[in-house]
């Protein structure tokens, strides 16, 4: 998968590209409007991560240029502005998703994967991990060739774990992914345990392994190591 990351804050650019490279994406970087425009005209990308406020121009103008030269690219806007107007005009101009800074890398990864699945870049709508297979089209889960029924939140939780496998996830990050910013969670994360335990039970019942590892009571990792 070939990615272009457009972001004028170099530290942020490097942090994002380091992570995404580890996740086996081929990343190209642009730290200005000018450089980004050049790359967009010359090369083709599968996904473009686009910052709106660039030092030498507006990312929304770049969006128009992308739509002209890189039609097939999926676009995720990264913005420091949690502005509804920007979000609407960004999505109107053909962006696929909008993320507000600061965001978490696991969340970014989930969004990129979701975008790729929607665009069928992977050629597959199946996410697999050992004996567990998830079909994102029918939203069904198969463990050891047995179909299990999950609630919507349990399904989303499992998908988030499988996409971010081997990564340490905080329970706050999981809660935020499942309920976005809509719910002011403050200190109430108890409900995550319930979902987590139900999910574990359902997988175990079909003879699946418990891959959800608890780290010092504060974080989780979906891993077979």
């Amino acid at each position: 998968m070939k990615l272009l990351i457009v972001e004028d804050e170099v530290d942020l650019l490097i942090a994002i590209s380091n992570y995404l490279t580890k996740e086996n994406y081929l990343c190209e970087l642009a730290d200005s409007y000018h450089k980004a425009e050049e790359k967009i005209v010359l090369y083709e990308y599968d996904v473009i991560l686009l910052d709106i406020t660039l030092g030498d121009g507006n990312g929304l103008d770049l969006l128009k240029s992308i739509k002209k030269h890189n039609v097939q690219a999926g676009i995720i806007i990264l913005s420091a502005k949690n502005s509804l107007d920007d979000k609407i005009s960004g999505l109107d101009l053909g962006a696929d998703d909008y993320m507000t800074k600061p965001f978490q890398l696991t969340e970014l990864n989930s969004r990129i994967k979701a975008l790729l699945r929607r665009r069928k870049f992977d050629g597959s709508h199946l996410v697999a991990f050992n004996e567990i297979t998830l079909d994102t089209d029918s939203k069904s889960v198969i463990v050891n060739k047995q179909r299990i029924t999950l609630t919507r939140k349990e399904y989303e939780l499992l998908l988030y774990f499988m996409i971010n496998k081997n990564r340490v996830l905080t329970k706050e990050a999981i809660a935020e992914h499942l309920w976005e910013d809509n719910v002011d969670l403050s200190d109430n994360f108890d409900f995550i345990y319930t979902h987590m335990n139900n999910l574990r039970k359902k997988i175990k019942r079909c003879g699946g392994n418990d891959y959800i590892k608890t780290l010092y009571g504060m974080g989780y990792q979906f891993t077979d190591q």
Partner: protein, 416 residues
Amino acid sequence: MKFLTKINRNFFMLFAAMLLVICIAGYFILQAMFLESARESLARKSTLIQHQIEQTGKLPQFDPLSQVTVIPKPAGRLKPSIKEVELFNSHEDELEPYAEYTKKVFINGTYYNIQLREETIEKDDLIFSLGVALFLLLVATFSISFFVNRRMNKTIWKGFEENLHAIEQFNFRNNAPLHLESTHIDEFDRLNTIVYGLTNKLKEDYRSLKEFTENASHELQTPLAIVLLNLEELLQQPLNEDAFKKTITSINALKRLSHLNQSLLLLAKIENNQFSAEENIDINEVLQRKLIEFEPLLHAKKITVEWTEKAICFWKINHYLAEILINNLLSNAVNHNIPHGNITISTKNGEFLICNTGNKSQFSDEIIFNRFVKGDSKSHGLGLAIVKQICETHHASIHYEQKERHCFRLTLPKYQ
């Protein structure tokens, strides 16, 4: 008290005092003048009598008011005198004032005392007529000033009053400019210029403060993102328990900071009226949708939700803000609830009420909506401030009551 009334009252009091002084002085002056005129006429009369005695040597006969008597040689000099006396008047059956003129003369070796009297004006009459004059003058002045002022209120003060009204109505939050009428009166026009200058300066300051808040919030988000991303990467390294917990604590603290920043930004935007697109929102629909989102939280705390009344309830508001408002109110009702507690919701036309069980709170209606007011929860204390701000910009009112339950009553604007 109005400026004109004040001026008039002072002026009127001063005028009355002056008139009183003038009247008292007038009384004495008039009295002296009457006496002087009586003296002159009596002196003339006495000279005539004197001549008559000189020529005839006889004492003339007069009316009872005049008397000429032969007297022995008086001591001292011969000097005429005039004084006022009161004599009984049998016609009118009362004492009447008279001017009494006494002159001692020496004619042909004999001393005579000529005493002449003339009726003079009564003191009561004088005081009465002066009093009447004073009263009439005061009434005339008062009524003239009253009519003049009424006219002046309509002409000279009208522009000023209108401008005062315009200044009263002026609000920095709505961006309508202040418009003051020219009054063609130097002092008032000068005041207008000063007010214009002041409001423009204040508006500019207010705007730049708003911009600063917004820009500062935006600029904070990028460094926050960098720190957060790096910490997240750090978390993926093999860490011992201590380092792991410290990293997660740091990540959570940073997220709180970021949420706080976003909430402040949201408040600034609501104040700046940046959510203008309004539509008729079905409050029941938003409440129901949000309750589904809150289901896991409600379930975890074993909180039950009950609708006590459900009527059609629409509000003309930006849909994004409506979601935030309902969200914050429900979050509040969940976060400050007790385990196995309940939430009751009631919607009516033009009003809705969200009540929850919970521990006694120390906050009153005036304080609870202030920024950074928080009870025992770990929230940033901006949720209800945002609710209040949304209500204010949409002409609705919200009140908090604490009886056996905590209730938030939101009254929608009347025009709905």
